[in-house]
Subunit: 333 residues, 2 copies
């Protein structure tokens, strides 16, 4: 009890949160504070909200880059190479790896440690995993919260990584300014990506394992699908490039980093487009948090406010469509 | 143009919906009307809402039974046997098969036809598939809408079937009064079910393929997990039974049907428990529709109401947490 507590406000849920001190610790690059805050965010602790509000208002400076693709496409290797590339240029890089397929486990943390090994001792790199807690929708919201924490530190680049699982993947990639879609050279894979609507969210396409005999065919197929997509959306000025890499020995990584820079330069040159994208992301973020609040409210036992509305519905004197519409109308009034 | 149009209001989206005529057609057991309405629901047509409101208020009489379990557990065979069993007793049965894993396709409809073959020419059976349209959350909402349509017909039993995929499965099973959890006799499967939180939603557990050498061990493991679960929730009066079936030759089907009847008798004997369950389901249904409305609103281009709030957030003078909380507070005021 008499031991000095350097991180007193972080140890136990329910304790008050010293927003100023935590924000300063993050700003000074305190990794331990960052790691603990993300753990509390994963637990969905209510006490984090005032801090997140404050951090959000201080943030917005990091370049948030999303990377997604099927399992086995070589995402981890590619990310390691990109991190090495940026570190050589003196940039500080954080990686948030979001895994919707596995429940929270020591496995994810072991993964972090294995991946960190490549950059061990380098204080300019931070790698952190987040795993699903069974709530698919909530994972993207929690990832956004974690990004808000990372954004309050002075990272030049924050990479957010996830594995493709439909809607969840799309939601998580919405947090990024630039989305890299990783593909493996395999017949028909690109068509699958197009099917899932995933192709719509990619700003840069990467065909990894470029030494694979099917690599060039996959590049061609992707370019074909992308040209079709451009026909459907002629208003889009950005033509997503298809980049070949061989992450295992670093081939194509500099080229890929160039394309990422070009995408950011494009956004800087097109303030209207950039602003529209910011607005769409902001709306999505509000919606995600609102859904999370609603879910919590619906599940809470003290939902008396809804009980009185529910009884007439159970008696079939009302219906859920009318009820939901009324609740929404009240909100938007 | 001069042809008589018996289903005029159903053919084109955007046409007005004659609620009275459609409700009467459903009440008279018109399968074609039902099938077309479910197709329009799958498309998410706004015009369906007034009809769904009216149908919901007339519904509530069908016994809605949910069945879920891993792929290959024999769900289709078991359902076919249950349908045959109930048909012999003179009950009219509808089956809604919800497949979250496949996008909408001719495959689902082919599946319907193959499954219908076993009951072809029997007007007392209707089998209908619904497939994912890429929106996981929306699928459960759409399934609820389809149930509202089926509930307006005079089915004695409506079966809703889905394959296990986490949150989505749980959401879809929430539409049912009684949930059957199907398991295959395989080592560790039950533990997986417990992990996924799925065990919480089962009212009756079925170990199919009872001739499998691992069947008895699986039954024992399930009973063990269920007894642990009962320790955690001692307030629950219903002890979920574990039933062995061999759906392929109809073994155990009558026993399973008895257990289902017993569960309904239990709910009739425990009006408070039954009402609490109805209330929880009703709340969930409102929440689901509200989320759907919110999603549509967030995605709509005319979201001017949100735009004015979003700009300060982009300038980092506000934050999404404050915005979402304000929107919710307004709704609950």
């Amino acid at each position: 009890m008499n031991q000095p507590q350097t991180h007193a406000s972080l140890h136990a849920p329910g304790t008050t949160v010293d927003i100023g001190a935590l924000a300063n610790a993050l700003n000074a690059g305190d990794i331990r504070t960052c790691a603990r805050l993300i753990t509390r965010i994963e637990r969905g602790e209510e006490e984090m909200v005032p801090l997140l509000q404050a951090l959000y208002r201080r943030g917005g400076s990091a370049r948030v880059i999303g990377i997604t693709g099927p399992p086995g496409a070589g995402k981890s290797t590619l990310i390691n190479q990109l991190v090495t590339h940026w570190r050589r240029k003196g940039l500080r890089v954080a990686v948030l790896a979001v895994d919707p397929s596995s429940p929270i486990s020591g496995g994810a943390i072991l993964g972090d440690r294995l991946r960190m090994a490549a950059h061990s001792g380098d204080r300019g790199v931070y790698i952190r995993s987040m795993a699903s807690r069974g709530q698919l929708g909530g994972l993207s919201k929690a990832a956004g919260d974690a990004l808000t924490v990372l954004d309050a530190m002075n990272w030049d680049v924050v990479l957010i990584e996830t594995v493709g699982v439909g809607q969840n993947e799309t939601d998580i990639m919405r947090h990024a300014s630039v989305v890299l879609l990783l593909q493996t050279p395999m017949g028909g894979d690109d068509v699958q990506a197009a099917k899932a609507g995933i192709i719509e969210i990619g700003d840069i396409f990467v065909v990894n394992k470029s030494d694979h005999p099917d690599a060039d065919r996959t590049v061609q197929q992707l370019q074909h699908v992308l040209s079709l997509s451009r026909c459907l959306h002629p208003d889009k000025a950005w033509a997503p490039p298809v980049v070949k890499t061989k992450a295992l020995d670093g081939e194509g990584i500099a080229d890929l980093a160039d394309h990422i820079d070009r995408r950011f330069a494009y956004l800087a040159d097109q303030p209207e487009t950039a602003h529209n994208e910011l607005r769409a992301r902001a709306k999505h973020r509000v919606g995600e948090i609102l859904r999370d609040l609603l879910d919590k409210r619906m599940r809470s036992d003290d939902g008396q406010w809804l009980e009185t509305l529910i009884e007439p519905m159970i008696r079939r004197e009302s219906d859920p469509y009318t009820l939901a519409a009324n609740l929404l109308a009240r909100m938007l009034a």
